[in-house]
Amino acid sequence: MQIRFAGIGGQGVVLAGVILGEAAAIEGLNVVQTQDYSSASRGGHSIADVIISKEPIYDVMVTEADVLVALAQLGYDTVKNSLKGDGLLIVETDLVKPERPHIGAPFTRLAEESTGLALTVNMVVLGYLVAKTGVVRRESVEEAIKRRVPKGTEEVNLKAFRAGYEEGSK
């Protein structure tokens, strides 16, 4: 399964990819996580790839995404061609206007509503993705969040993740 997150710097796209990768690793799956970003620390495109498989993985980046998660138009436009014809497109509906079938929600607003922090949008969309695809178990992601987010922010990130998971379970 090839999953690609696309956004702009500052949205936490890479951390979302790392946590998804860690969750897969916790489940004993093979996983490769890579990223591509511009030199700008904020505002440039930011792409995180996660490839998960029971078999050895030789790919170094997503070649044909099964799932593309787009959090910003710039990120989406940069990599939209990498999504398979029948792939799943998940978008931040306030910020991305795709020209093809998709699902999604206003993830940034959901983040603000659940935690008061727009920057938890990455955890919200991760929750949504896990609910929609079941690529890894919810518990594995929660464990990965505890391991990977800055100390003291575990609860707020878990809260955002659960809000996204709930939205995706609707």
């Binding site: 990768g21 690793a25 996983v31 996580q33 890579t34 030199s39 993985i57 030789y58 170094v60 070649t63």
Partner: protein, 382 residues
């Protein structure tokens, strides 16, 4: 000894982090560096870990100072490492030659990015293959290893230290920006399960007094530790077995340089490591090293599905190069393809080795992306 990271289990980490942890498990206790993309995380990890294992990690004024510091640390008895990328690796060339000439065990990590000059800081490349072998001036010999996975980045770092110590030589670990930042599951062994080799120390008065001698006939002089025993003279000038400069005597220069060549080329079987995939009955062979090998393995599988008998020779050791093995391969196959992320470097070594016994074709790619398997397949299918 308690280690500041979990051992005896798998972890999900970046290549740079794997290199730092491996260095510590291999016994590295001195790190000097200067930050540079895409190698900075090695320094960050070393800055975090070294104080916890009674080691030292220092930021130097630049890369020239960094390699100078690890050479000094090595003579003081420490296993030492620095890490950089293209621009910093260029600055290190002078002292890399000094480490060759003074037979100083050090590990220099070069995570390749697009060049020349500052080039493409965040993107992977393989443009420094020739520089890692021949970047410093003069006749010289060293060892270059190149990993293709995060696990190999870990394993080859341990091997780099062991080879550096065993052969009293600088070893270059040649990674790239992709391996540097890629996260994969890596098995971090329990420290008791890590094979660690230390340098030969002088055991007699004579060996102490001849830090550049060859008492065992293997070309590898026992290395004294500064401050323990006799005064030792260490110089980049051509020197005799005592270490004193002898700059005009042809036979002394020839004996020294040939010994430095010989201690590595005479142990090629121990040093050179490679892996074969589906090569036994292959009609066409792909020869690759580093990150591109991943796409090459996939390409071999895709070609086999198309009925083309393809195989892969993946070089874990880039230098020394086994020209004889390459000639034998060329005698067995019709054609050899060399995919690499530059405009032709490994290709020239392969072609020299093949010696006309098989056609050799370069599959070059620059700009910052690893070849896709399909790009290799399309070249082979034609």
């Amino acid at each position: 000894m308690r280690y500041p990271f979990p051992t005896g289990k798998k972890d999900f980490i970046q290549g740079n982090e794997a290199i730092a942890r491996a260095a510590i498990l291999a016994g590295c206790r001195f790190y000097a560096g200067y930050p540079i993309t895409p190698a900075s995380e090695i320094f960050e990890a070393m800055a975090l870990y070294m104080p916890l294992v009674d080691g030292v990690s220092i930021q130097m004024e630049d890369e020239i100072g960094s390699i100078a510091a690890i050479i000094g640390a090595s003579w003081a008895g420490a296993k030492a490492m620095t890490a950089t990328s293209g621009p910093g690796f260029s600055l290190m060339q002078e002292n890399l030659g000094y480490a060759v000439m003074t037979e100083t065990p050090i590990v220099v990590v070069n995570m390749m990015r697009g060049g020349p000059s500052t080039g493409q800081p965040t993107l992977p490349a393989q443009g420094d293959i020739m520089q890692s072998i021949w970047g410093t001036h003069g006749d010289h010999m060293l060892i270059v290893l190149s990993p293709s996975t995060v696990q190999e980045a870990f394993d080859f770092t341990i091997r780099a230290f062991n080879l550096a110590e065993k052969y009293r030589t600088p070893v270059v670990l040649l990674g790239d920006a992709e391996i540097a930042h890629m996260r994969e599951r890596v098995y971090i062994p329990h420290p008791d399960d890590v094979k660690v080799i230390g340098r030969k120390l002088p055991e007699s008065e004579e060996e102490h007094k001849l830090p550049f001698g060859d008492p065992h006939g293997d070309g590898i002089p026992p290395m004294p530790i500064f401050g323990r025993g006799y005064r030792t003279y260490v110089t980049g000038l051509t020197h005799d077995e005592v270490g004193h400069p002898k700059t005009v005597e042809a036979e002394i220069h020839e004996r020294l340089i040939k010994r430095i060549y010989g201690k590595i080329l005479g142990h090629k079987e121990d040093i050179i490591s490679y892996e074969e995939f589906e090569l036994e009955d292959a009609d066409v062979a792909i020869v690759s090293t580093g990150i591109v090998s991943r796409s090459a393995i996939r390409a071999v599988k895709m070609l086999r599905e198309k009925g083309i008998e393809a195989g892969l020779l993946k070089l874990n050791t880039v230098w020394p190069f086994d020209f004889d093995m390459m000639e034998e391969l060329a005698e067995r196959v019709r054609k050899i393809y060399v995919p690499e992320m530059n405009l032709g470097q490994l290709y020239h070594l392969v072609k020299e080795g093949a010696d006309g016994k098989a056609e050799v074709e370069l599959i070059p790619k620059i700009g910052g992306e690893v070849h896709t398997p399909m790009e290799i397949v399309e070249k082979v299918v034609g």
